[in-house]
């Protein structure tokens, strides 16, 4: 019973009014003098009693429905075996550029649209995982805490192909993504899935901080690299012309390798890379996680209105059957 709550409990004050139907004898009705010696019909009395109780129940239903009962939000203990994945999405203006990869052969989609398709698939296939989301461009934006709510995650992922703006500033995004793990027990593998189209230079101080945080948290880093045709491949870098200004992604890749946590990069133009990413997450050792899923509160007044309707229909019939007059004065 403690799961039930009322939106407008003041309506319950009206409830004693329903007792009127039980206690009040009702309309005085038509005078009929021969009652003294008429035979009693027990059935009629029973039906009358039933009518009273029905009216009472009907009104009680209505008043309860007006009070707006609801089932409180409930935390249901679930046993999950998934990883904790923080989707860290690049929302910089460069994500609006065309993407040339296997996902769209004619290169009409922007990178963010490609990332959306990719991530939707990823999220679809990893049903038991917990997801969080952080977007970043110039400054990071916290979007979703770690949750199993598929609808929320899907909605968040579907929204990432909106127009991005600003520059790619990976370091604050990563730091915020790492923050997501702060209050969660380590019951599954922790993964930061970085979806980005390029790198920036991270200064030495911040590099150290990020490295330290990664070690503290014990998260893995998977980088889905959205490459455009003019960029280099970080997996197969050219042997020459590597510099911090022209090919920052390569240096970022190098830096990530020095983090001291498991790190992999997937290039999204490779058809197998998504499958590889999913498979990699699959292979992670996951302990079962007891976590609580929150079920939102449910409004029960509609049920009560329905019940009221069912109770009220016979009363309507009753009302139609009521006779108002017997003896009309003949003058």
């Amino acid at each position: 019973m403690t799961n039930l709550g009322l939106t407008h409990p003041l309506w319950l004050l009206a409830w004693p009014l329903t007792l009127v139907f039980l206690l009040h004898p009702g309309r005085k009705g038509v005078p009929y003098p021969a009652m003294e010696w008429l035979p009693m019909d027990a059935l009629g009395r029973k039906i009358d009693r039933l009518r009273r109780w029905l009216a009472w129940a009907f009104l009680s239903c209505l008043i309860l429905a007006l009070a707006g009962p609801f089932l409180k939000e409930q935390k249901v203990a679930r046993l999950g075996t998934g990883a904790h994945i923080v989707l860290t999405i690049d929302r910089s203006s460069s994500m609006n550029e065309d993407f040339s990869g296997y996902l769209s052969g004619n290169a009409k989609d922007s990178k963010s649209a490609a990332a959306r398709k990719l991530l939707l698939r990823f999220v679809e296939q990893r049903r038991q995982d917990l997801f969080a989301m952080v977007a970043f461009s110039t400054a990071p934006v916290h979007i979703l805490p770690l949750t199993q709510d598929r609808a929320a995650v899907r909605a968040a992922v579907e929204a990432i192909d909106r127009r991005g703006r600003g520059v790619t500033n990976i370091a604050p995004g990563l730091l915020m993504a790492l923050e997501e793990f702060r209050d969660h027990p380590v019951t599954g593998a922790r993964v930061i899935l970085l979806v980005s189209d390029g790198g920036t230079h991270i200064d030495q101080d911040t590099q150290e901080r990020i490295r330290q945080r990664f070690r503290d948290v014990g998260a893995r880093l998977y980088w889905i690299y959205l490459r455009n045709p003019r960029s280099i491949s970080v997996l197969h870098p050219p042997k020459r012309n590597l510099s911090e200004t022209t090919t920052p992604e390569y240096f970022l890749h190098r830096y990530f390798q020095t983090l001291g946590v498991p790190y992999r990069v997937f290039e999204a133009d490779d058809p197998e890379s998504l499958a590889a990413a999913i498979a990699t997450v699959d292979r992670l050792e996951n302990r079962p996680l007891r976590y609580f899923e929150t079920i939102p509160r449910r409004d029960l007044s509609a049920h009560l209105y329905g019940l009221g309707l069912i109770l009220g229909l016979p009363l309507l019939l009753w009302n139609a059957l009521e006779i108002r007059q017997w003896f009309e004065p003949k003058r």
């Binding site: 010696w37 059935l43 009521e322």
Partner: protein, 278 residues
């Protein structure tokens, strides 16, 4: 104005000349016996044959009963139940007819109407009222029927006088039979004619299906009545049984009741008297 003929099966005690058989000797046509002329009898009625056959040689004079008046009373139930439907109209018609008939027959008329008190709410003492019929009808037409009427402990004898009278008891008799028995017991000195006023609506349901809250205007009893196609039959049976019970009880006290249902025909009442008082 309606009129009917009533007669009595007993001899009136009054010395006033009237229309009914009497136990008083006087100038009537009903032979009573012989008396000696010496007792002061009317010499116009000397019976020669009886005088000759008289062994004592006295002159024998025929003696006759005179016809006398009979007090006529109406004891009317003015309770709430009598205000139902067109019962007031019926009551006033009946009362008018009785009053007018009494006037036409030459009998004194008295009216005792019992409503919500132990004493009469409308009382017309025994008189030869000329305009009683009209005035009483007017009085009854506007009367607010209320109270329990005859369904209460009453002492009516004080209002009826000590002489035997013809007392019409007008009511719907919707009260316990024990009460009626007590009433009839109390009215034993009088010749009580129970007139039962009923409406056929009382056992004719207003609808085939439905329900109706009812209350007894006199006792306050409430009941919800359910009507179905069988209700009319059961109500009719109940009223038939009631009719038998009333007839059986009233017969024990002298007369069978006269039922007035919906309408009143004076000829029927005349016939009732012809049948009951041969």
């Amino acid at each position: 104005m309606e009129e009917f003929h009533y007669r009595i099966a007993w001899r009136a005690t009054s010395a006033h000349p009237g229309h009914h058989r009497s136990q008083t000797e006087g100038g009537g046509f009903e032979f009573h016996g012989h008396a000696s002329l010496m007792t002061g009898a009317d010499p116009r009625h000397i019976d020669i044959r009886a005088s000759l056959s008289n062994p004592f040689g006295d002159y024998q004079v025929r003696q006759f009963y005179q016809t006398s008046i009979v007090p006529v009373h109406v004891i009317a139930d003015l309770s709430a139940s009598m205000g139902l439907g067109h019962k007031p109209e019926l009551l006033s018609r009946l009362t008018t007819a009785i009053a007018y008939s009494a006037y036409r027959t030459g009998d004194p008329f008295g009216f005792v109407g019992i409503a919500d008190r132990h004493t009469p709410s409308i009382l017309w003492p025994l008189r030869r009222h000329r305009g009683a019929a009209l005035t009483l009808a007017r009085q009854l037409n506007g009367y607010p029927f209320q109270g329990r009427g005859l369904d209460q402990p009453l002492s009516l004898t004080a209002w009826l006088g000590k002489r035997r009278s013809l007392a019409f008891l007008l009511s719907d008799f919707h009260f316990p039979l024990s009460r009626l028995q007590a009433l009839l017991q109390q009215l034993r000195p009088h010749d009580v004619v129970p007139l039962v006023l009923w409406l056929s609506q009382e056992w004719r349901p207003p609808a085939r299906w439905g329900w109706l809250p009812l209350h007894d205007p006199e006792t306050g009893t409430r009941r919800t009545m359910w009507f179905h196609p069988g209700t009319e039959k059961s109500l009719r049976l109940a009223f038939d049984r009631r009719r038998r019970q009333l007839t059986e009880l009233c017969r024990r006290y002298g007369r069978r009741p006269f039922f007035v249902v919906d309408g009143f025909r004076p000829e029927a009442l005349s016939r009732y008297f012809l049948e009951s008082c041969v």
